[in-house]
């Protein structure tokens, strides 16, 4: 009896896994195929330096994608992340420029992002405005504030400390060359990549092991059922949007730190890359479905695609066209799977 129960249970788990694993596997294979194709196209693609470049580029989209995934699972969408990224980055830049130490200025930047997300959440749950419209409004508001604060001019010369988060790396090995110039032996693991891994693990833990995560899925799956079961649906949604905003703020700081310049014009259309990463990773815009590891795969597919196409000399316009088709194809394949 006991044995048969465990066998049934493990069988059920396997089935469950294979259904979810299918998407992961196909996304992973896509990523591998892309890497192989680009490696044949350009020898420099597989170099350590280029790998790190991809990692850096993906970390911003990845951070945005994690927040976007939380929101998409609740059945919503956050179009404001690109603008919130710019606002948080410029606020941080201005604070640093005015003499505030880098760390508290960056914390305030993240809080600005969280506040924008909180506002989104309130507009959506209390004013009952659809997420699309509410966050579209915030997209304009945050961008407008960033431009107004700075007069649309970038803030540069922010000092070396401001650039550490975006440009620094762990375990970087530099030796003094014979000619007196430093030579980089191992470029190290960039801080943004480490940050992405930490946030991704935290996001996965939140969704899988915490009550809030369970409620995020339940809210997106069937909002009325969740409410009747005693789930604080409004609070769950507000938290999801606030986290998305905070992560957009974090991504903005990483990006501006990498440029060592606060650019109020940065991050235009980044929300679309973040949505694409989540959707390619298996999240459903209908809500209730999605996970962090899938979104990470999606972010890397888009990152590798961008980078590889760049190195192959494909124009930015053609890149847009290709990524557009990839998003449609990914969702189509997922629907085919679900219809079975």
């Amino acid at each position: 009896m006991d044995l048969s129960l465990t066998s049934i249970r493990s069988k059920g788990k396997q089935l469950n896994m294979s259904a979810e694993m299918f998407h992961k596997l196909s996304a992973f294979l896509t990523l591998m195929i892309l890497i192989i194709v680009f490696a044949f196209g350009n020898a420099a693609f597989l170099s350590v330096n280029n790998g790190l470049t991809v990692l850096l580029q993906t970390s911003v989209i990845g951070l945005l994608g994690i927040g976007m995934t939380l929101v998409i699972i609740t059945g919503g969408i956050d179009l404001s992340v690109g603008s919130v990224l710019a606002l948080s980055g410029t606020v941080t830049g201005m604070l640093v420029k005015s003499g505030m130490p880098v760390v508290p200025a960056m914390l305030i930047g993240v809080l600005v992002g969280a506040a924008c997300g909180l506002f989104n959440g309130f507009v959506i749950t209390k004013m009952k405005i659809t997420p699309f419209v509410a966050t579209l409004g915030m997209m304009l508001i945050a961008r407008g504030v960033a431009l107004q604060l700075t007069g649309a001019a970038p803030i540069s010369r922010l000092g070396e400390a401001f650039g550490v988060l975006g440009n620094g790396a762990l375990f970087r090995v530099v030796e003094q060359g014979a000619n007196g110039f430093p030579r980089v032996v191992f470029p190290g693991i960039p801080y943004p990549a480490i940050l992405l891994v930490i946030v991704a693990l935290a996001g996965g833990y939140l969704l899988r092991r915490r009550r809030l995560g369970r409620h995020i899925y339940a809210t997106g799956s069937n909002e009325e059922a969740a409410r009747l079961a005693g789930v604080e649906v409004d609070r769950t949604k507000i938290t999801a949007y606030a986290l998305s905003g905070a992560l957009a703020g974090l991504a903005g700081i990483v990006l501006m730190s990498r440029l060592v310049t606060a650019q109020p014009n940065e991050g235009v259309m980044y929300e679309l890359d973040a949505i694409a990463a989540a959707v390619v990773g298996g999240a459903s815009l209908m809500g209730g479905v999605g996970n962090i590891s899938g979104t990470m795969l999606g972010a890397f597919i888009i990152g590798v695609l961008r980078n590889g196409l760049n190195m192959a000399g494909v124009s930015a316009f053609i890149q847009q066209i290709i990524i557009g088709f990839v998003v449609i194809l990914a969702v189509y394949i997922d629907q085919l799977r679900n219809r079975k």
């Binding site: 089935l15 092991r209 009325e224």
Partner: protein, 263 residues
């Protein structure tokens, strides 16, 4: 238990409940009560206000006016959470399940078991769910599948399990057998008798006359938002109930069924 025992405190008293939607009075001055170990059938047309009344008791809706007393004390039920704290559980006609989650997650939704670090205790929830689901349906094995892939009967079993697993005192069942086959319907009937024997009070919303006469001790019939008749089940016949549902009143020259037999 032909008539409610006098002197005993009712589990629930609804006093003069009203619910307005704009100018429409969905529930209009309805009073009702429920005693321990009693099954009260709530009948009426679609739109007669019975679901609305039940939603008020389960905390899904706030009344515009009126009073709810639970075990003799005034109760303020502002949310499903409040209702559950008072031991009021509801099985909704729509089952109210989150389709993408599995059976244990649905069973414990809003009341998740957690480890001492505050993490979800999925292992214990799975074990507990297995126990309670097996008592209701021994063939229930696919506990880790999303409930969207389960049959109507299995989904119903989850909805029922969710209501009885926790310390239920007052159970609201909204058409519990509508989606079920004959054997599962019999299971629900058995369950109702078992819960009744444990002293749990049940409001049974049903359209099925057979179920009502089989299981209920009393009926209350709603028509156009009003309670048009509360009767012990022995007093009325199926025709009387139909008359109450359709006409909103008993047939002319009505005599209680049990006294009629006695004559």
């Amino acid at each position: 238990m032909s008539s409610p025992p006098s002197g005993q405190t009712p589990l629930v008293e609804l006093v003069d409940i009203e619910k307005h939607f704009g100018g429409v009075r969905a529930v209009n001055g309805v009073s009702a009560d429920l005693y321990p170990g009693e099954v009260v059938g709530v009948l009426g047309h679609n739109g007669a206000g019975k679901s609305c009344l039940m939603r008020i008791l389960s905390g899904a809706m706030m009344p515009s006016h009126g009073q709810i007393r639970v075990r003799g004390e005034d109760a303020h039920i502002a949310s499903p959470h409040d209702a559950r704290d008072l031991g009021i559980e509801t099985i909704y006609q729509t089952l109210a399940l989150a389709d993408h989650l599995d059976a244990p997650s649905n069973l414990f939704l809003g009341r998740e078991l957690r480890t001492k670090f505050g993490n979800l205790d999925d292992k214990r929830m799975l074990e507990e769910a297995r126990k309670v689901l097996h008592t209701l349906n021994p063939n229930f094995t696919n506990l880790t599948d999303p409930v969207s892939s389960l049959s109507g009967g299995q989904r119903q079993v989850i909805a029922i399990a969710r209501a009885i697993y926790f310390d239920v005192k007052i159970l609201i069942m909204d058409e519990p057998t509508a989606a079920l086959g004959p054997s599962e319907t019999a299971m629900v009937a058995d369950l109702i008798r078992k819960l009744k024997a444990q002293g749990i009070g049940i409001f049974l919303v049903s359209h099925d006359m057979h179920d009502v006469f089989e299981l209920c001790d009393r009926i209350m019939v709603m028509n156009k938002g009003r309670n048009v008749g509360s009767h012990p089940i022995e007093e009325v016949s199926k025709d009387d109930v139909l008359s109450l549902i359709i006409k909103g009143g008993l047939p002319d020259n009505w005599v209680p069924r049990n006294r009629e037999v006695a004559q």
